[in-house]
């Protein structure tokens, strides 16, 4: 063990072919993509949970309430 990390051949090739400035740059971009994907998945889960909770409530659907909010102008 030398303690020096050797990047996989694929990453080195991507750098050689000019897709990234360096191996570190490639790794940073890959991490950013993974983080973004994680955030998207988390958001979808939260949206599912919100939609489930809102869906349980009685009363008019939210889209109808939006129309009603607009019509509140007439009551002013």
């Amino acid at each position: 063990m030398t303690g020096v990390y050797k990047f996989p051949l694929t990453i080195r090739r991507l750098v050689e072919e000019g897709y990234f400035k360096s191996e570190e740059d490639a790794l940073t971009e890959a991490t950013k993509l993974l983080l973004k994907e994680y955030k998207v998945l988390e958001l979808k889960k939260r949206l599912d949970e919100t939609a489930r909770r809102v869906g349980k409530l009685k009363g008019k659907p939210l889209s109808k309430l939006i129309e009603e909010i607009h019509e509140e102008e007439d009551e002013l």
């Binding site: 008019k60 659907p61 939210l62 939006i66 129309e67 607009h70």
Partner: protein, 155 residues
């Protein structure tokens, strides 16, 4: 193709008892995958908050913030109500009898150069409003009429 969305469409993704909820969530997925470029007026966030409060939902901030995060992660173009939009909106209120919020959404679509405005609002889906919008090369459609990748006039 650039698409404007109003609050009546966005809230369909927040309520699984809404008709076309699945369609709204498909639209959200397309936004998150950046398959479509959408434009929203920031006014939508106020309407969403108001509708959630009116519905009696206990965490309106939380739900609204999810929609704001959808905008951030999907690189949605958020448009402020600036002077140009205000002037168009004023005209639409006078000429079409639109409510203030509806006129802001139509003005946002016009000023930001959208080809389609998706709205579930009955006021924006009136024939005279649709005809007027077509003069700006904007098609106003309901969510169920939207077919990403095919079908719509401007594809």
């Amino acid at each position: 193709m650039k698409i404007a969305l109003d609050a009546s469409v966005l809230v369909k993704g927040l309520d699984n008892s809404e008709e076309d909820h699945d369609k709204a969530r498909e639209l959200f997925d397309s936004i998150l995958r950046k398959e479509i470029l959408t434009t929203w007026s920031v006014w939508s966030f106020l309407e969403i908050q108001r509708a959630l409060v009116k519905k009696g939902f206990q965490d309106p901030d939380e739900a609204r913030l999810e929609i704001e995060e959808l905008a951030r992660l999907g690189d949605v173009e958020l448009i402020e109500v600036n002077e140009v939009i205000r002037n168009f909106a004023l005209r639409f209120i006078k000429d079409l009898g639109l409510y203030a919020a509806d006129s802001v959404h139509l003005a946002t679509a016009v000023v930001s150069g959208c080809n389609i405005l998706i709205s579930e609002d009955k006021h924006l889906n009136k024939k005279k409003v649709k005809d007027h919008a077509s003069k700006f090369d904007i098609e106003i459609i309901r969510l169920r009429e939207f077919k990403p990748g095919s079908g719509n006039k401007h594809e």
